[in-house]
Amino acid sequence: MTTILVGIKRVIDYSVRVRVKPDGSGVVTDGVKMSINPFDEIALEEALRIKERNLASEIIAVSIGPADAQQQLRTALAMGADRAVLVQADGAVPPLSAAKAFLKLVQRHQPLLVILGKQAIDDDNCQTGQMLAALWDRPQATFASKIELEGARARVTREVDAGLETIDMDLPGVITTDLRLNEPRYVKLPDIMKAKKKPLDVVTLAELGVEVPAHGLRTLRFEAPAARSRGVMVHDAAELVAALKQRGVL
């Protein structure tokens, strides 16, 4: 059995305009649409394509979060994951604890690959994949835009500031996805029905033997960012050049 583990985080949908609560305790989530983190959808899509090329036989979708994350796992099963595991945790799970939970599942399932999104669009941390690779002492390829599997090796093209970088990694290992890796498929209605019969196991973070340290990094408060104010309108190129000269930038 060749297994791929894929991370599925439940986040506020990317199209929602996020608002900070007036008391600074967090952001407004009541009645807000929740979805799979977009980078995680790309991770799952890539795993499905690898399986469709017969290079993997089983895809396990893993979410670490609240009981409601079962909704996102059901969507992942409808997309094509074979089974799902919810590592249930109340409250925020910091990336290091998430990485430790993934490591426990890695030890249990011995995957060829763990594919995660490069970051979640809620906390924008961009940490879990790299931390898992460190704890597991295996290679990492972050920001992947192309993955080629060749036996026990992967050749990964990464999107870096200087352009594109290609690395070879021995497997098993961790890959995190960038936007241009693929375009995730849409879920069809019959698949949603089928997904209801696929196995979805629930285990708590504590049962896995992972704890969120009480004395770790703490978030003290949320604030709305400083706003930029609307400027002036000009009517043609000559007025624009004059305005730029007046501001001293030309």
């Binding site: 940490q127 949320f222 400027g231 002036v232 000009v234 043609d236």
Partner: protein, 317 residues
């Protein structure tokens, strides 16, 4: 005293400007003593460039053949070993180099990481953006543990030069894994100004309509001595390569002048430019969200306005 270790970003023995910005961030931590670590196969000019940054006390150079390319799996154990020499903070830039590397360092040190640090409130209290910069959080790291952070480079000016820090060779007996190998790199264009450091940037969006039309952006940028950027829509449409993408999922920049041409202003794009000093938007749709944050706006047809603008800029004053 707070002992800060800044991890230098270098390519072929030249320091990336992100290092000077990290040093600048480090110097806002109270009672800081700042060291810079340069890991390379041949560090060349990088140590001297780091030593010239005024706030730096010491430059540690780790030269070893395996450090020829910045592979996180190889650099992280060396940095963790350096960090254990009594440092209170380890900072790297929030560029793809630092984002790849620093969480691996944090995990080896068994601590969480503060990502995209944008302001220092105290030695253990920091501000950082979340939700694509739609919110800013204040976080506190435990005072009895080492702090690992990536620095949001757009939030800091490069540290001043004129310093003369000591340069020391560090020897580390750390075994390195062989499971990751560098194959190659493509992209980047040495002829044009670097997008992340250029004082002027001209960006094009989907409204350009084709890769050919995108030359309009390159010509205006050349007239201004500016770097070229692109929106995600323009990159996805194939008008510009991925390393030109500006925005939350591309590069976050803070130039003196940012000119957005045919970019409507999706939130993820605005996230990447809101620290620019002056933002100019030219778009045919007067209702485009880009105008809500532009300092100077012009509604009209790009294909008429931009060549005229280029002519006026090139004309002798």
């Amino acid at each position: 005293m707070n002992r800060i270790l800044v991890i230098a970003e270098q390519l072929a023995g030249k320091l990336n400007v992100s290092t000077a910005k990290c040093v600048s961030c480090a110097s806002t931590i109270p009672d800081a003593e700042i060291d810079v670590a340069v890991l390379a196969a041949n560090a060349a000019e990088a140590p001297a460039q780091a030593a010239a940054l005024a706030p730096v006390k010491r430059v540690l150079v780790v030269e070893r053949a395996e450090n020829g390319e910045a592979l996180a799996a190889l650099l992280a154990p060396q940095i963790a070993a350096l960090a254990r020499n009594g440092y209170t903070h380890v900072l790297g830039p929030s560029t793809t180099f630092g984002k790849d590397l620093m969480p691996r360092v944090a995990a080896l040190l068994d601590v969480g990481q503060v990502s995209d640090l944008m302001a220092v409130e105290s030695a253990h209290r920091f501000r950082r953006p979340v939700y694509a910069s739609n919110a800013v959080v204040t976080v506190e790291a435990p005072a009895d543990r080492i702090v690992v952070a990536t620095v949001r480079t757009a939030s800091f000016q490069p540290a001043a030069g004129g310093g003369a820090a000591a340069i020391e060779r560090a020897r580390l007996d750390v075994p390195l894994p062989g499971y990751t190998r560098f194959v190659g790199r493509e992209g980047g264009n040495a002829d044009r100004p670097d997008l992340q450091t250029a004082p002027r940037v001209v960006s094009g969006g989907r409204a350009l309509g084709s890769a050919d039309n995108f030359q309009l952006i390159h010509r205006l940028a050349a007239a201004l001595g500016a770097a070229v950027g692109a929106s995600r829509a323009a990159v996805d449409a194939g008008y510009a390569p991925n390393d030109l993408q500006v925005g939350q999922t591309g590069k976050i920049i803070a130039p003196e002048l940012y000119i957005a041409l045919g970019i409507s202003g999706a939130i993820q794009h605005l996230t990447g430019i809101k620290d620019a000093r002056t933002i100019v938007a030219i778009n045919k749709d007067g209702e485009a969200p880009i105008f809500e944050i532009a300092d100077i706006g012009l509604v009209g047809d790009l294909f008429q306005i931009v060549p005229e603008l280029e002519r006026l800029i090139r004309a002798p004053a």
